[in-house]
Symmetry: C2
Subunit: 282 residues, 2 copies
């Protein structure tokens, strides 16, 4: 595995592979790998593609009061894990390379970026869309793989790829969870033991709603109420949002018809966590 | 020459050429070709590249009270001119193909889009940057060629290409003028005989400033005054802007040091025209 930190060298390597007729899979990450990241790499590695993983804690997607500075980092450990997954290039650009002096171009995906995490984190998806577009132009992938934990991010990137005619297929892969159900996240390392226990209420709340739906409940209000009761039961948890949304447009739905996505974000102590599940209607 | 109107077919053709190891030159236009467009095609055709010319009157770059509906169009004539220049593909997408239902992604280049035409035409450069990025993704050029008449547009696209790590070289080519100096523009067809005569004051004003600079004048205020006096002499002409700007940042300069760009926009009757020249200092 090669570690490339220069964006020009990354683009040259991708171009050379393309000229040889290789296809390229790409997994953009902020590092501090867990099994969720590794599952994306495994998917990307299939079908004989070259596999590029980027590791970049992107300043443009953090708000001024967010956790950019304390976001967990361990390049040595990450490099070992990536190499073991058969990654060909670990791309680790610097912020100065990605956003040089005079930088001024940003991409915005409209409606999809507005609600949910977009409402709580102004500018977040603008930063995400912009850096992912830059990374796509550097790594030149045929396929890019994202986790469904950041479901809104996945939809934003898929919409951007379609709208901008990007020659890349954007694939979402299932959330990987701890045995007790907690969605894997690099931010779980922030949690104290008590918070770790309280954080379980997110998936338990989502599952409570899914159980009500399986029992025939179709009213969004009732499903959300069932989830909310569980999530907010712990005094350590403060709900940010909880919504039942169309899986494509992410617009709120009043009644469950076909599939919908149930999405939540909550503060557990000082840590903001997100989770979501698919809920099937008729 | 092939005429392709489907964006998927355009992207397939470009990909096929790339796989064969071909390089691609691209000239994006709104059609109604004049010698300025043809000079860009001639430049693109050099060096053995495949040459793609797009013809798309892009709704996203017109304001609600602008001339989208009456912008001159003549596909048959344009196709004949392009074929004679050795164009390989004339790409003529529809608005519905470029902006399908649910479209919601836009690119903005910040500082460079704000002044000059950006101040007079809010949203214009957002529409330009977005459509050009889409066209780049469809035509997959190594080189894209733009005219310097739309100098701010050229700088916006160059900055976008650099900021987004686009694998394309964005080249600006000199303005082509009528024998009397009027910059060629598809919008010149709007002018009456009197207006056509009055429109000459734009380049005459710019040249008056250049003459003052050649005589040693370095103060922007004096150079602008010389140009303004000529441009506004005709009652048919109403000045929109006149600025002496840094050729890279387009920020106004107070004194001529090295090269600067002198840019103007003016209404001649109901037609808005633009022009610019390079002015050399020491």
């Amino acid at each position: 595995m090669e570690i490339i930190s220069d964006s020009g060298a990354m683009q040259e390597q991708a171009r050379a592979w393309r000229t040889e007729g290789r296809t390229i899979a790409f997994v953009p990450t902020m590092g501090y790998f867990h099994q969720g990241h590794l599952s994306l790499m495994r998917y990307g590695r299939e079908q004989g593609r070259r596999l590029v993983v980027s590791l970049f804690v992107n300043p443009a997607q953090f708000g001024p009061s967010e956790d950019l500075d304390r976001y967990p980092r361990d390049l040595e450990r990450d490099a070992g894990l990536a190499a073991a997954e058969g990654v060909d290039v670990l791309f680790t650009p610097t912020a100065g390379d990605m956003y040089p002096s005079g930088y001024q171009t940003y991409v915005e995906v409209g409606e999809l970026s507005r609600g949910l995490c977009g409402a709580s984190r102004p500018g977040h998806f603008r930063g995400v869309a912009t850096v992912v577009l830059k990374l796509f132009n550097l790594a030149a992938p045929d396929v890019a793989v994202f986790g469904e934990k950041d479901y809104q991010q996945l939809r934003v990137i898929q919409q951007m790829a379609a709208d901008l005619n990007l020659p890349v297929r954007v694939v979402g892969r299932p959330i990987v969870r701890e045995p007790d159900g907690l969605a894997l996240s690099s931010r779980n390392t922030y949690l104290s033991i008590e918070e770790r226990r309280a954080a379980l209420s997110l998936i338990q709340g989502l599952n409570a709603a899914a159980a009500r739906a399986a029992g025939g409940e179709r009213r969004a209000e009732a499903l959300l109420g069932a989830a909310r009761a569980v999530i907010t039961a712990s005094p350590l948890v403060r709900l940010d949002y909880l919504e039942l949304a169309d899986p494509d447009t992410l617009k709120p739905v009043e009644r469950l018809q076909g599939a919908a996505r149930l999405l939540t974000a909550a503060w557990v102590g000082a840590t903001r966590l997100i989770d979501n599940i698919l809920i099937e209607g008729d």
